[in-house]
Amino acid sequence: MSLLAAMAYFLQRAGRDYAVFERAPRPGSFFTRYPRHRKLISINKRHTGKANAEFNLRHDWNSLLSHDPRLLFRHYSSAYFPDAGDMVRYLDDFADRLGLHVLYNTTIAHVTLNKDRQAWNGHYFILTDQMGHAHRCSVLLVATGLSVPNQVDFPGSEYTEGYESVSVDPKDFEGQNVLILGRGNSAFETAENILGVTNFIHMLSRSRVRLSWATHYVGDLRAINNGLLDTYQLKSLDGLLESDLTDLAIVKDREGKFRVTLKFFLEEGNQSADAITLPQDDNDNFAMRVAYDRVIRCLGWNFDFSIFDKSLRLSSGGEFSKKYPLVKASYESKGSRGLFVLGTASHSVDYRKSAGGFIHGFRYTARAVHRLLEHRHHGVAWPSTEHPVSQLTSSIIRRINEASGLYQMFGVLADVVLLKENATAFEYLEELPVQMLAQLETITGRRARHGLFVIIMEYGRNFSGPDKDVFFHDRSVGHTEDAWQSNFLHPVIYYYRHLPTEQEVRFRPADWALPRPTAIHHIVEDFLTDWTAPVGHILPLRRFLENCLDTDLRSFYAESCFLFALTHQKLPPFCQQGYLRTQGLVGTESLRRHGAERRFPQDYATVGRRREDGAQGPEGGPLAPGPLLLQPHDSNKEEL
């Protein structure tokens, strides 16, 4: 529901005809029960030291997007890891204040498809609710999240308790031996709650632990839940084990305790419970030879496919996991046009990469889908601003320093600069699903005929991974010429002379977010994520843009433009687009004095000289590289 609220807001603002179906009598029903231990692991950072609201959303993982500053989550909780109840209250207010059109207590029992040529997509979606009422719509947005607990089938699975129903009262675990199946945040969250009262906790799962600070994926184990790792490594009886659950079996012994054995042993013969072979019978130091009082299953969730009729061809089995329905990079189902899967369930697009499965990610993908629909059905082109090319560097610098969508949905959403003919002007489009780049013209209604820049945020190629040491010596890059080796999240700008084709996007090199560009620029990672340093960040970016566009993007005072105007037939873009339109930058006496210190009269002479030998062209300008007090950026490495 949180997602549908996010989406409904955009539809509401655009004046579209929509309705939201909500099973519960109030919004955010998921959060009334989950997470079980009530602590959200999405951070509620209330202070960043900055006033910029857009920037602050980079560190606010709970708010939905709206124009109303009162609807920021920090007004609802002061806890850094807030209580789930506050989220319920927040979503209540969000739907209420914005007057979203929600039909509560409506459970959609069945969805089917009705072919009709009149419909936008050649068919209508027919939704039948629990009362048997049918609702018809042209576009269906599914944001049911993952609602079905994942069950692994093995002998004895009936003895396990699920995360969804297990007791959250630590008293119930006093002095017990506990086995937890699973290794996600829910498993660790459960362990964290009872760590201090149990005899020990063993945690069993197929794959190794993935720490989110190593993988840079917020869905992996977060530090707030990882107490068990500590006690395991310090040999305080708790422990982690890896094994494929489907090979296991759990049997109940005479005392009613649970024993772990192998499915293989069970198949050997039809023996009574006490006679079942246990691994320790052969292997007397088998790790899980101890008897457990409880086995808790925390194996995650699946998408509920059951309500969707076959005609919708909504298939499971995305690239990474079966728990998500298969969707395109535009979040549209591969099976039926007009059916979009949003929110947590749309995570197949960026699973284990970006934040698309979480509020702070899907609030942006919802906006992207909304923009896409606006263009597809209402002829509203993707919003953009148009600027003269002299504003190009500034436009990019502004976005990389504040845009929250690029920052949260790194590697997935990207800004695009579409160049106009002769590159004298450009259009700036925000937050496009980058995998849809080849279809840019169709999904946005904008033209990309004269080349484009794609602005995206990336971690270093080989930096993230469950087995990576992310604290190695020399991990940070400070020199601008080494920027391409930056490890931490940093802006990357791709330049394409032509819009890449679908083929190029699909068969891009491994590890690349985008197909091979004509040229690429990395802005060197920054400890403060403040990319406004004149020489360290802006200057190399300007040089990159200049060389892609084969022009001079420097800014000049009116006096220089005046000189150029009378000594050259052509002017640099800044003078053309500013000075010649009587909007030149005059500068003040004291700034001019700084210029004079750099011996302007002589520089004027230089211009004259240079002109003479022709070959040099106008690039000499009045500012041949001169004596600067600026120090070339030296090692500003993290020394903390």
Binding site: V535, P540, A558, T588, G626
Partner: protein, 820 residues
């Protein structure tokens, strides 16, 4: 002519001179003409600035002249300021304040006169004065032929000191002249400012000044060329002095003593010594090698031939080169070098020892991509620590913005704290706040969009900087003028009254037209526009009001539509509806009927009316005149224009001879950039006044009106006719190239490719040092030298790859282990 100077310079070094003249008076003496001429001594040079007694006591020129007093006295030249008083007129006293000149006398004979703008700073003063005095010693040439003639005439006789400077009067020119003062009798000094000449002798990187030593004295065969040595250091007096000293030193010395004990002039000058170790058996060949090396290292190091056989101290057996740095106590290094190039590179790699830099010798540095070449960003960065009185403007936030702009008429500057152009303009804005302090009803405010991004977006501000005016109850108006204090001030002041302002009586209208009504605004609006309408002309009135609104902030507009409007229309001979344009400068009112004009037409008429027929062109107004798309006829004037010329041009305009041109004039005093323009057109500053026609919009030709002709109607007309007929040749054609990137960008794509393609198993001999020279023979040297020859860029990539090889190498190693 120069003989009288020799006494001052022969054999005197600079240091000596400084001491010698230390006691001399070094402030500018002020004399009357009579007194001045009485002080002149035969044979002694003197520089005098004649000026009116009532002229300002300080000026930039006087400051510079004052600074030049001391150095000129060091050369035995006295300097004086001569005050022309009424009683004592002299022919050197100009008639007008602006026409004052500087004169150079020897004894009481006038040698040269200089306009003050030629002597723009202390360097220019000294350079020009010495240049005039050393006329015979320093030959100024412009062609390669001149140079060859001089070279040929001096072969076997004397050496040449040849220099190229970018322009006369530069610090480099001064350095050359000072050197010529000392060495002018020993060597023939030759000077040029022609790049082409330098190119033709094969110099690269001509941006800077160059100083060459031509070894002509030992050339006996006239067909042979003189050897040339380029001074590697920047052109500065001490560097030249040092360079010449090394040229005078013997090319190669043979020694047979401990290298530690040897001393030559090179060491004193801070240059290293290179000993080529020789043995009796190979002496002849070694000597040839040493000579070759010596020529290569001339001016960079002293080269000696060390005879091992007759040496008492031991030197390592295999060492063939001994290297000794100039620092006292620096150890002598014994080297085994198998290639003479290695000797050269060793020295050149070590010459950072002492550059003897006098000024900032930045010019020698190769362009570095990390160096800021954006003048706005650069000046703003330099200025970053200056505290601005920001409190003079109100900082608005998301919370305060709406309340503020509703409560009071406000100007809002939207800027971004990280953007250089914004920050440069913010300074102008603060200057404006200082000017308006307490006088304006308009509130000056600012919004930093780096902080209040959403607010800016809501106000439709997506680029920076933007200025908007919020006047109560009206849509905000965006300011579209120059981003500077003056123009914004004008915008604010003119917006104090409504546009158009409603005039209610004939008397008020007359006051309005005479400029009385808004007296204080007249300086900002040279024209007042008044629309006259009968009360029933609603559409016309509406259109005019729209036009007035559009023109707000750039001109005063008014509207009059009372019943008695006919009184006015009759008086000014207008039929209603009409526009009256009052030109306050000329005191004229003209009327234009505009029966069926649209809003744009009215705007156009008024905008055109603001243009002057013969304007002084400035940085601020050039764009407006460029819009006319006509070639410019520019009269360059040093100071205000001679009224005679104005009259001449205006007559030509009146007779419609200048219709195809935009005539204008440029005052170098108000617009110093004009100097740079002239230098581009003429290569050097020509005498002023001067007329050029610049065809900016088609072809870029620049034509100059012949300076020997008087600026009269007839001459000009004749010249323009010739121009039109295509009979004149342009003095220059302005370049038509597009503006290209000033420097390359990092090519990260190739770096990534290079890193990806490196084979991880390759072992990189990173730590093979030259410790064991004898064993690692030639091959390694070859490796080294090939690396060195590669451009810097590839070297950088190499460096990265290397670190990558190591990382990946490590990995594969671990991997192998696992498999085992």
């Amino acid at each position: 002519m120069s003989s009288s100077f020799n006494i001052y310079r022969v054999g005197i070094s600079f240091v000596m001179m400084c001491i010698f003249y230390k006691s001399a008076v070094d402030s500018l003496s002020e004399l009357s003409p009579q007194k001045y001429f009485s002080t002149l001594q035969p044979g002694k040079a003197s520089l005098a600035y004649f000026c009116q007694a009532d002229s300002p006591r300080t000026s930039i020129f006087l400051e510079e002249l004052n600074e030049a007093v001391k150095p000129l006295q060091d050369f035995g030249i006295s300097v004086a300021k001569v005050n022309c008083v009424k009683e004592e007129t002299s022919r050197y006293c100009g008639k007008e304040k602006d026409l004052m000149k500087v004169y150079l006398f020897r004894g009481n004979i006038l040698l040269r006169e200089f306009p003050t703008d030629t002597l723009f700073d202390v360097n220019a003063i000294i350079a020009h004065v010495l240049f005039a005095l050393l006329f015979n010693e320093v030959k100024y040439i412009t062609t390669l032929e001149d140079l060859q003639n001089i070279e040929n005439s001096l072969k076997g006789k004397a050496n040449i000191a040849f220099s190229y400077v970018r322009a006369i009067g530069t610090p480099e020119h001064r350095a050359v002249m000072e050197a010529a003062f000392v060495y002018g009798t020993t060597y023939q000094f030759v000077l040029t400012t022609e790049i082409a000449l330098l190119e033709s002798i094969g110099t690269e990187a001509i941006e800077n000044a160059h100083f060459y030593f031509f070894h002509c004295k030992q050339v006996l065969d006239l067909t042979q060329q003189c050897r040339r040595t380029l001074m590697p250091q920047p052109l500065a007096t001490l560097n030249i002095h040092r360079f010449i000293k090394t040229m005078e030193a013997p090319l190669l010395t043979e020694v047979a003593e401990d290298p530690q004990q040897v001393s030559t002039v090179h060491l004193q000058l801070g240059l290293p010594l290179v000993f080529i170790v020789s043995q009796q058996a190979t002496h002849e060949a070694d000597r040839r090698t040493a000579e070759w090396v010596a020529w290569r290292l001339l001016g960079k190091a002293g080269v000696l031939l060390l005879l091992r056989d007759s040496l008492e101290v031991d030197i390592p057996q295999h060492a063939n080169v001994v290297f000794r740095r100039a620092e006292e106590g620096a150890p002598v290094e014994f080297l085994v070098l198998h290639d003479t190039e290695l000797i050269i590179s060793r020295v050149e790699g070590n010459t950072h020892i002492e550059e003897m830099q006098e000024d900032e010798d930045e010019d020698l540095q190769s362009p570095d991509m990390d160096i800021q070449d954006d003048e706005v960003a650069e000046t703003v960065y330099r200025h970053r620590k200056t505290q601005l009185p920001l409190e003079l403007t109100v900082e608005l936030t998301e919370e305060t913005f709406n309340a503020t702009v509703v409560a009071s008429d406000s100007i809002v500057l939207f800027y971004a704290g990280w953007q250089a152009v914004s920050m440069a303009f913010l300074q102008s804005y603060i200057d404006l706040a200082i000017k308006l302090k307490g006088t304006s009803t308009m509130l000056l405010t600012r919004v930093n969009c780096a902080d209040w991004s959403d607010l800016c977006t809501k106000q439709n501000v997506t680029e920076f900087p933007v200025v908007k005016m919020y006047k109560e109850g009206k849509h905000p108006v965006s300011y579209a003028g120059m981003l500077g204090t003056e123009d914004l001030l004008k915008f604010i002041l003119l917006n104090r009254i409504s546009c158009p302002v409603n005039i209610t009586s004939v008397q008020e209208a007359e006051e309005y037209l005479s400029g009385e009504l808004y007296k204080d605004l007249i300086p900002y609006s040279s024209v007042s526009v008044l629309g006259l309408f009968s009360p029933n002309m609603t559409t016309a009135k509406e259109d005019f009001t729209k036009a007035g609104n559009y023109l707000r902030g750039c001109v005063i507009t008014g509207i009059y539509s009372e019943e008695d409007v006919l009184i006015l229309s009759n008086k000014y001979g207008a039929t209603l509806p009409a526009l009256l344009l009052a030109r306050h400068k000329e005191g004229k009112v003209e009327s234009i009927p505009f029966a069926n004009f649209r809003v744009q037409d009215i705007v156009q008429i008024v905008t055109n009316a603001l243009l002057e027929t013969f304007p002084e062109i400035t940085v601020e107004n050039l764009p407006i005149y460029l819009r006319l798309q006509k070639p410019l006829l520019i009269l360059f004037s040093d100071g205000s224009i001679n009224p005679q010329y104005t009259k001449t041009i205006l007559t030509l305009v009146k007779e419609k001879h200048l219709d195809s041109l935009t005539p204008c004039w440029l005052n170098l005093k108000n617009t110093p950039a004009g100097r740079g323009i002239l230098q581009t057109y003429f290569n050097a500053l020509p005498p002023l006044p001067l007329i050029v026609v610049v065809n900016l919009h088609s072809g870029g030709q620049v034509f100059a009106f012949p300076s020997e002709q008087a600026i009269t109607e007839q001459n000009l007309l004749l010249w323009l006719k010739k121009l039109e007929a295509g009979l004149e040749n342009p003095i220059t054609i302005l370049p038509a190239q597009e503006w290209k990137p000033p420097l390359p960008a990092y090519d990260f794509l190739s770096m990534m490719d290079a890193a990806a393609s490196q084979h991880p198993t390759r072992k990189e001999p990173e730590c093979t040092k030259e410790t064991n020279m004898q064993k690692n023979d030639k091959k390694q040297h070859e490796d080294k030298s090939t690396i060195r020859k590669e451009p810097v860029e590839t070297l950088r990539i190499k460096h990265w790859n290397r670190s990558n090889w190591f990382k990946e190498g490590d990995k594969s190693f671990r991997h192998d282990n696992k498999e085992l």
